[in-house]
């Protein structure tokens, strides 16, 4: 590393730096009155600037680049041109076409705090690919959301407690007009404001004042305006039980009780937003007809199984049956989906989703069924071959064995012939005792002939 330039040299006028950043670098050698950084060759307008530059850019880099890996050669490693420049990273030599500059640290890595060095194209090419960043704001978002929810939570807690009161009253009281009106008024003190707390309109004899039973504020009653509405107790009950444990018997009992009544609680828009919306959302999710999701899950289940199998090879009949069964199930699934769509009570978006799902399944079958067919053919071919082998399956005999056995067969046949003749002769002569022995003899011979015939098979008569 070159020593830092200090002290005075020729006084250099501190030229005002132009708005464009660095002075012209189009001119190959710096103008006579300018100074260059000895390390990175950037022209400097003044000595002070140069000192600052060296302090900030080069002083903490006293690390030196090792050179003991440099290889001596006068040929470019890439094109065989004559060359003298070593790449400071790999140490090989390169010509000017194949060398560039880069900042390198003492570990021989590219580093924006490194020192300018000669680096070959190959080493530069090994720079990693671009990593496109993502910026996760979820935590920040949740923090913002919580801040707001905490602000609201105190009020919401109060409102929630009143709703709990309503719920308990439903569970534990005889519901009639008198008890209801008494209860309704006991929930919260009513405020008598001059204008609606939701839309700020003034109340008149046309626009009468009403009270929200949960917060007690004055609100308009006009349904069209939507500042408040009367929620029937039956509906309220359904909302209140979404996040509560209640036995089915108890639930049905209250449902029946509330069915007959036409009581309702007036609830304002703000209270609805604060405490009821969440319950509506939960109820909606619970009540959702999950047929569509069922179809999807069946598809996922079967496709996952099929994907984990190697369809291009079938081990045995059992496996084949299994595969075929999967495809049959997919086929049935498609038909079920069609049926479901044609029932006519699907929403538009459900139809779009199911149609897409159907197309995905059909595409899957189109791709995978031919693979199964192919391997079924392979299996069939194999089985046919096996059958053929069973038919042909006899222990093979050596030529010598073949000859010996054939000879033996001929001898036995001659013996048989002789014995049969003798048998006839003895019969004529009525030598019945001898006939018996001949009988046994003949039997033995015939047994042996059969055995030999079996062993020789087709080759009995070929010589």
């Amino acid at each position: 590393m070159k020593p830092r330039i200090l002290g005075k040299s020729k006084p250099v006028p501190d030229t005002p730096s132009p708005s464009v950043s660095t002075p012209s670098s189009t001119i190959p050698s710096p103008p006579p009155q300018s100074i260059q950084c000895p390390i990175c060759n950037i022209p400097m307008s003044s000595l002070i600037k140069l000192n600052n530059h060296i302090d900030s850019q080069h002083l903490n880099q006293r690390q030196s680049i090792p050179r003991n890996h440099y290889i001596k050669s006068n040929k470019c490693h890439k094109c065989n041109n004559s060359s003298i420049t070593n790449c400071c990273i790999c140490g090989l030599t390169f010509c000017s076409n194949h060398i560039n500059r880069g900042k390198v640290n003492s570990l021989l890595e590219f580093d924006k705090n490194g020192i300018w060095c000669d680096c070959c194209i190959d080493c530069i090419n090994k720079l990693p690919n671009i990593i496109s960043p993502i910026n996760n704001l979820t935590d920040e978002f949740k923090e913002l959301r919580n801040k707001r929810l905490i602000n609201e939570s105190l009020k919401n807690l109060l409102l929630d407690r009143r709703l709990d009161k309503v719920f308990n009253w439903m569970l534990n009281n005889v519901i009639n007009e008198e008890s209801f009106i008494n209860f309704e008024k006991s929930l919260v003190n009513w405020n008598n404001q001059g204008n609606c707390q939701c839309c700020l309109n003034t109340f008149t004899w046309l626009n009468r004042r009403h009270h929200c039973r949960i917060c007690g504020e004055s609100v308009c009653g006009d349904l069209q305006k939507g500042c408040s509405m009367i929620v029937p107790l039956g509906m309220l009950f359904e909302l209140l039980i979404v996040d509560k444990d209640i036995s089915i018997q108890e639930r049905d009992r209250i449902r029946n009780l509330l069915k007959k009544d036409k009581f309702g609680l007036r609830i304002c828009k703000e209270c609805k937003r604060r405490v009821l919306n969440k319950k509506v959302f939960l109820l909606d999710k619970q009540q959702f007809d999950d047929e569509m999701v069922k179809f999807f899950n069946i598809w996922k289940l079967i496709s996952k199984k099929l994907e984990s199998e190697d369809l291009s090879f079938i081990k045995d009949d059992l496996e084949n049956k299994l595969y075929v069964n999967y495809f049959n199930k997919l086929d049935k699934l498609i038909k079920d989906i069609d049926l479901f769509i044609n029932k006519g009570n699907c929403k538009n978006d459900e139809i779009r989703i199911l149609t897409n799902l159907k197309n995905v399944i059909i595409k899957f079958i189109k791709i995978n069924l031919p693979i199964l067919r192919k391997s079924q053919n392979v299996k069939l071919e194999k089985e046919r071959q096996k059958l053929q082998n069973i038919i042909n399956d006899r222990p093979k005999l050596s030529k010598r064995e073949l000859r010996e056995k054939r000879d033996k067969l001929i001898v036995l046949n001659e013996q048989k012939f002789l014995v049969t003749e003798m048998y006839e002769t003895f019969k004529k002569q009525r030598r019945f005792d001898d006939l018996k022995t001949l009988d046994i003899n003949l039997e033995d011979i015939e047994k042996e002939i059969n055995q030999l015939n079996l062993e020789l098979g087709d080759e009995t008569f070929t010589i």
Binding site: V20, F110, K112, S132, N136, K278, V293, R352, P370
Partner: protein, 603 residues
């Protein structure tokens, strides 16, 4: 010597893929069951995403419903998960807040395609009473990807104010800032910014980008992790400094498609529906190089090479199908049927390129491009005025349909206008300039207006001064400008022997001209771009200017596909370099002429 560029590519499709995977990829959390998912987009992001993925890509990722956030007709499906890919602008935040306040789906993962301000995040948080938003992420994809190294901003259109090309149209400026910021972030870049000093629009944009990066407004810029040893370069150019390139007829496949048929900037598609007997599947065809291997191979080929490549491809297809259509055995037929989808795909793709290339062939013959292009090339591939008389004579022949009667087809006014415009630009300061005489003879107000407009837009008074460094020169011949570009220059010149209607002229006649962008890229590579013409903005870097490895070029006023080809060629021939190019829009000669006529119509 052709070396394969192993340098980590700056491939905009790969960047997009990574973001799509981030949004729609399977969660690493395997315990989570897969489910039907809904993807909500807005008017910006629906185009952005359809440029980089297909419907079947989305289905593969279990997105079974794609819809627009602003569509109020959507059904409530509160058992489904929803992924949102949205631009965080005011309209969308308002729509999204409403959606969250009264949700149609069970929960929401929100991906913004650009930097979302804190105040907008707050607005969103305020509407999430039900706590159904479980993810908010910024990805950076606020631009259209058209090629691996070509992009445009999303509000395409003229960047200039009517009657004043030194002022920005405010909408386009905003979209350009947003587009460039998201592009730089997606490429993990905190660049040095240089711009053309003679352009006020370039300077304005450069300053605006610099402000975004350095003001700390977009915190993300300071969080970029990168071990790059040298900073990348963002070079902002103004179309007016090269009005020639978009006017000349190009002779490479992709450029020709755009010139003759027009490639839709928003969909990256070509409309073929006006051709006769077009099957349903080929009415609109996509020009996405990642989905069409034939296109990927041929997009930068010259027309001669293309036609022989196409022939080879057809033969291959024929030989492949022949053995099977011959159905000599049942086995053959079975094989054919089993592989039918593949054949169908191949034949469809083949038809697409046959249709396009034969339409181009027909058009260039009908429009007599063979003659006009040769004139354009001879006129524009040198800056000396010695050939004026020949050029004038040739121009007169073309303008006034002089010559043999066997050429029944008359050159249309649009092309004549273009030729005259080129002449007017080339000989603007020449003492014997005949532009006015020619205009008088033509006696057509359309011509008067156009010539006036093009001179006002890109004439000598407006263009960068040409000095010995050649940075302002727009009339270049291939190879002549290069000091030492490693032998790449002459490589471009390909023989045109295969042309169907080619006359037996000089073989290189149609590709003599070299776009100015090539000269600038060479200068960047050599570190010789001048500070006077291309000042750097912002903090003084201690980077010797001859070391640049990554460059983003942005062309205000529209980028031509020919410039994209130059960039692609530059990337593949210069190891250790990677360049992407973009602009406020893509243009062909017709669109460029219309734009100029519009913005320079007054006095």
């Amino acid at each position: 010597m052709d070396t394969i560029n192993t340098f980590g590519e700056m491939d905009l499709y790969k960047v997009a893929d990574r973001y799509v995977e981030e949004m729609l990829g399977k969660d690493n959390d395997t315990s989570k069951k897969s489910s039907i998912r809904v993807l909500l987009l807005d008017r910006h992001t629906s185009s952005i995403i359809s440029l980089v993925s297909t419907q079947s890509d989305l289905l593969q990722k279990e997105v079974y419903l794609v819809d627009r956030l602003e569509n109020s007709e959507r059904d409530k499906l509160r058992n489904l998960e929803c992924i949102c890919f949205l631009k965080p602008d005011d309209v969308t935040i308002t729509n999204l807040s409403q959606e969250i306040g009264n949700p149609k789906y069970s929960n929401y993962q929100i991906y913004f395609n650009n930097v979302a301000s804190k105040s907008r995040l707050e607005r969103l948080a305020e509407s999430d009473d039900l706590e159904i938003v479980n993810k908010v992420v910024e990805v950076f994809q606020d631009y259209y990807v058209l090629n691996k190294s070509l992009f445009t901003i999303t509000s395409i259109g003229s960047p200039y104010m009517i009657n004043n090309t030194s002022l920005w149209d405010p909408n386009t400026l905003e979209s350009s800032i947003e587009g460039l910021i998201s592009l730089l972030l997606s490429l993990n870049m905190k660049p040095i910014i240089r711009y053309e000093s003679n352009s006020r629009v370039a300077s304005k944009l450069a300053n605006a980008i610099n402000y975004e990066i350095t003001s700390g407004k977009d915190v993300i810029f300071n969080q970029l992790k990168s071990n790059k040893d040298v900073p990348p370069l963002l070079l902002i150019l103004d179309r007016k400094n090269d009005p020639i390139t978009p006017l000349l007829f190009p002779w490479t496949y992709q450029s020709m498609i755009n010139e003759v048929m027009g490639i839709n900037n928003v969909r990256n598609s070509v409309d073929l529906s006006h051709l006769s007997n077009i099957s349903e599947e080929l009415r609109t065809v996509l020009m996405n190089q990642t989905q069409d291997l034939f296109y990927e191979k041929t997009m930068f080929m010259n027309f001669g090479d293309l036609s022989s490549y196409l022939k080879q491809y057809v033969d291959e297809y024929k030989s492949k199908t022949k053995t099977n259509s011959n159905i000599s055995s049942i086995k053959d037929m079975k094989y054919f049927l089993e592989n039918y989808p593949e054949y169908k795909k191949m034949s469809l793709n083949l038809s697409k390129h046959m249709l396009i290339s034969s339409e181009i062939d027909k058009q260039i013959n009908d429009l007599r491009v063979w003659e006009t292009s040769e004139f354009e090339q001879n006129l524009c591939s040198n800056s000396d005025t010695a050939h004026h008389d020949e050029d004038l004579k040739e121009l007169e022949t073309l303008l006034f349909d002089i010559g043999d009667g066997k050429n029944k087809k008359i050159i249309n006014d649009e092309i004549k206008m273009k030729l005259l415009g080129l002449y007017a630009l080339k000989y603007e300061s020449f003492h014997a300039n005949q532009t006015n005489t020619l205009l008088k003879r033509l006696n057509n107000i359309k011509f008067d207006n156009f010539v006036k407009a093009i001179i006002k837009y890109g004439g000598l008074k407006s263009r960068m001064k040409n000095s010995e460094n050649n940075e302002g020169n727009v009339f270049n011949k291939i190879g002549s400008s290069n000091v030492n570009s490693g032998g790449a220059a002459n490589h471009v010149v390909q023989l045109f022997n295969n042309f169907s209607g080619s006359s037996n002229e000089d073989a290189n006649a149609y590709m003599q001209f070299e776009p100015r962008i090539k000269i600038l890229l060479d200068k960047i590579k050599q570190g010789k771009l001048s500070d006077v013409n291309f000042p750097t903005i912002g903090e003084n870097s201690n980077n010797p200017k001859n070391v640049v490895r990554e460059v983003v070029v942005f062309m205000i006023g529209g980028v031509s596909y020919e410039e994209t080809r130059i960039v692609n060629e530059f990337n593949s021939k210069n190891d250790g370099f990677r360049v992407v190019i973009g602009g406020t829009q893509t243009i062909n000669s017709k669109q460029f002429m219309e734009e100029i006529s519009e913005v320079c119509s007054g006095n």
